[in-house]
Subunit: 244 residues, 2 copies
């Protein structure tokens, strides 16, 4: 079973980590569009165009499923990907909402969605949560989290000050959707501000979703990983060897 | 006299501001590659490819000079632009060094170059400064300054914390080159840490350079400005109307 995992950069590796841990695939082809990262500040048409280029890339491999491990892609381009792909396609937004539904059946729960500007502007999490009956939804776009993570500042005074800038004055929600694949890397800092909130992590959510929706219940002894990047693949490999 | 001003995003507007103030042109065509910003983290070949695409764009206009108002482009692609352009081309690095030379003739002066990762990695400022006889050169890449500026945080605790993260423990230099067109927007914060340092600003440096090297000494009653962006031109227009 072979998966193609697509992200704007390195954040999707947090999803790869969950896929490897759960042994769902014997091979993962990862493509990070590092030459054009970040997607989170780009507009809809640009994101669709880049996503369809990534789709063409994956057609070179005999993959069974393409996973858009990027919330901005999942927010804007998932329908276009599904319409044009000769293989199965999964994003991360629907899995995230499904995971929340399994864990928090109370429809009055206070939900905070954290995402990039593009993801939040799309309103896709909000719509899907409302369709599932949830009523109390807030969303927030802490735009500096991605560059802070890309700078390698997973803890310390810079991250803390940036987090306070966005979180100060916000009531603690029951559940927080980490609606950007970079955010699991700073979940400890997020939990400092909201210690009682349950965090929904795209990687774990995708694993559950693939098992339930696509019936991927076979497991493999090990997963080989092939990394591709539109620029600086060595940086991607270095980070992957640290994270995974 | 018509100029084409090229930047990866909105930062080049700080150069446009100086050009308008000095009335060097009666028309400026601005192109911001906002769909692919930021360039400062990209590699050499990507920056050259994008720059040559911008050159093709400017061929549609009858411009007299193209100004690469982006240090990352000036660091990596200026020779390719000059080799392929049917009009004059200026970057911002050579003008910056010339401006420094005019203001600080003392070759023992301590110089600090601030720039994006790409600009600093290129070593272009250092080489040019050494060729001009300067000996004491340090460089620093405060990568979070660009996203902080793009987030509109021109002052306050986030900017201050980020600045302290990069500047703490650094001796005050005699002169600081603001080697990224975003940095003039936070020069007050930079001066808080280094109150006695002279700051070199690309916009002012380019004006002097064009007057001296290209003998642009005519002035015009007013400058009309046409803005183009590879995505979200409305955002660019909004920011331009505030800054200019």
């Amino acid at each position: 079973m072979r998966a193609g995992v697509y992200d704007s950069g390195i954040g999707g590796l947090t999803v790869v980590k969950s896929l490897i841990e759960q042994k769902l695939f014997d091979e993962i082809i990862y493509f990070g569009d590092t030459a054009r990262v970040p997607y989170g500040v780009k507009d809809k048409n640009t994101i669709i165009r880049y996503s369809l280029e990534a789709l063409e890339f994956f057609k070179n491999f005999d993959i069974d499923i393409m996973i858009a491990a990027c919330n901005s892609v999942s927010a804007y381009a998932i329908d276009e990907l599904k319409a044009n792909a000769p293989f199965k396609v999964s994003g991360v937004i629907e899995p995230g909402v499904m995971a929340l539904k399994n864990k928090i059946p109370n429809l009055d729960a206070n939900i905070l969605v954290l995402g990039t500007t593009a993801t939040i502007r799309s309103g896709k999490y909000e719509r899907l949560l409302k369709q599932n009956g949830y009523k109390n939804i807030n969303s927030l776009s802490p735009s500096l989290f991605v560059p802070v993570v890309e700078e390698g500042l997973f803890e310390g005074v810079v991250l803390e000050t940036v987090a306070r800038h966005y979180f100060e004055g916000i009531d603690e929600p029951d559940v927080i959707i980490l609606g950007c694949t970079h955010f699991p890397l700073i979940k400890d800092e997020i939990s400092k501000f909201f210690p009682s909130s349950l965090l929904i992590h795209s990687g774990e959510a995708v694993v559950e979703f693939l098992q339930k929706e696509f019936l991927l219940n076979q497991t493999f002894k090990q997963t080989s990983l092939k990394l591709f990047a539109s620029e600086n693949p060595d940086k991607l490999k270095k980070i992957a060897s640290v994270w995974l």
